[in-house]
């Protein structure tokens, strides 16, 4: 059983009179523990695909099975519960809550899930230690460097031990060295069994993934698993 199975997914946006097929009859299966890079130019549909995978958006047609369960037909609250427990997000612009400390930001998903404060404190302390942030626990995001912010964001994304980690241009706002650190961190998590899906238009980062999905005009043009390795660009 695949972790993720998309069949015949379509997503159509209406912009005035014209309709844009952001995703057009997409069929993809991703196994548990995979490391996938979704690549393609702007407007190719890679972000729309990530939003669909993260249950932030609904397809207009097709089915999405997550861990064997059809999640497209769930109610918004049920989808929120799936997002809470099974999906972790890492964003290009970190999306830390500015008024909360690093520890509070990491604790946010657990707070939303209703986990008691005592357990939260303990798990946050462990996570901050694992990510080398234990001395930054009481710092607010504006007191942290870009790399530290993204590490806080990754700690937050993984604190609920999700089945899949979705990263949208995780190095887009970072310099090369810090970006490499962040990618190394994500890959380390993947090596410990977490499914990692990275959206990027950076060839160098994309080529590090074991599997590349090339998107173009809402269609999957190239799947390295299906079509063999991508020719060097």
């Amino acid at each position: 059983m695949s972790l993720i199975r998309l069949a015949g997914i379509e997503r159509v946006f209406h912009l005035g009179d014209s309709t844009v097929h952001a995703l057009n009859r997409l069929d993809v299966a991703i196994e548990s523990g995979e490391y996938v890079a979704i690549m393609g130019p702007s407007g190719s549909g890679k972000s729309t695909l990530l939003n669909l995978l993260g249950l932030l958006d609904r397809p207009d047609a097709g089915s999405y099975h997550l861990e064997g369960r059809d999640v497209t037909t769930l109610s918004p609250d049920e989808q929120a519960a799936v997002r809470s427990r099974r999906i972790g997000f890492v964003f290009q612009s970190f999306h830390l809550v500015p008024r909360l400390t690093a520890a509070e930001n990491v604790a946010l998903p657990m707070m939303l899930a209703g986990i008691p404060a005592a357990e939260r404190t303990q798990r946050v302390a462990q996570a901050l230690k694992d990510f080398g942030l234990d001395r930054r626990a009481d710092h607010r995001p504006d007191q942290l460097s870009g790399g530290q912010r993204q590490r806080v964001a990754i700690a937050r994304a993984t604190i609920m031990q999700p089945a899949v980690l979705l990263a949208d241009e995780p190095t887009g706002n970072l310099d090369r060295a810090t970006g490499d650190d962040v990618i190394n961190l994500l890959e380390a998590l993947n090596q410990r069994g977490m499914t990692l899906i990275v959206v990027t238009h950076d060839q160098k980062i994309g080529s590090r993934a074991r599997r590349q999905l090339m998107m173009e005009d809402g269609e999957l043009r190239h799947d390295s698993l299906r079509d063999g390795a991508l020719p060097a660009a």
């Binding site: 932030l56 964003f91 946010l108």
Partner: protein, 402 residues
Amino acid sequence: MRSADILRFARDAATGYPLRTSLSVLAMAIGVAAVVVLTALGDGARRYVVEQFSALGSNLVIVLPGRSATGGFSPANAVTTTPRDLTVDDAFALTRQPSVRRVAPLAVGNSEINANGRLREVVVAGTTSTYLDIRSFNMAQGAFLPEADWNRGAPVAVIGSKIKQEIFGAAPAVGELVRLGDRRLRIVGVLKSVGQGLGMNTDEVVFVPVSVAQNMFNSNTLFRVLIEARSRGEIEAVKQEAAAVLKARHGGEEDITVITQDAVLATFDKLLRALTAAVAGIAAISLAVAGILVMNVMLVAVTQRTGEIGLLKALGARGATIRNAFMAEAAMLSLVGAFTGYGLGLLGAFVLRRMYPVFPAYPPDWAVIAALGTALGTGLLFGIMPARRAARLDPVQALMKH
């Protein structure tokens, strides 16, 4: 999400934007403070009037000449239309009634007092020795009018404290001769200052025997007859006895009006309560305005924190959780504002009482409860719309705004 966490989250969100938060708290506080201070003023006026009436003396029944209520048509009404005078003899007849403790007739007119080389316009009140006890007045110097035949008063006068001050200053007044209109009277006493009562300032009144006053004004009728009942329970009996006696003396015609202090008091009480409620209503408009401001502030907060809302949704927050968090924030703004306003209002009322010690400016309980309730209610009501808007945000769109 646990309730305690929602509250903490909302608190942190509110304190995270101090200017925005303090402005909306201030608006709510001003609204509540306005209600508290204005109702304190209104209710203070009511208490002031009630106290004034109580100062008139207890168990008081007042007889007025003329009938105020329109009776049914009767042959007597058709024959005689002018009411008879309410005379001193009428008043004296009332003293023999069983439920009556004291009676004091009152004839009132204007005149000039001339003494010590000074001239002053005064109110002259003609009455008897009983008046002092009925009104519970006290003497500053000398004695009140002497007990005497009501129809043959001595040429004496008792003056109010203000008149004494203006005409004699610090010099003794008792024993001095004064000219009042065309009479020469000897001052036998000076009243202690009491202030307003029965529509005249007693400090500016010259009291003379009722017969002297009636001669002076060339009139037989009395302005009022004040009757003191033996007890509070006998007020109604006095009322009926007075009406019956005077009806008999006036040839079977009910041409007088008997009112009790209670009735007058109840009317004023009702009137001033209505006034206070009206003032509270006007002040409540500022609460509604404050509520709209809270809504505005919350709408701004939703726009400002769109990215954060998108994030919360991505992290698994349900719509209801986000709605509750924003509602809690609106409620906190209103609550803090309401209690700040309550404190400010109490302070304002305290300052009022300090400035005007005779004026008991305490906010009534109902106004305080209503103000706090309305503040919280409007805050929540006007918080619903922004909170729902936040809960309904599309997470994809919201996440793009950062």
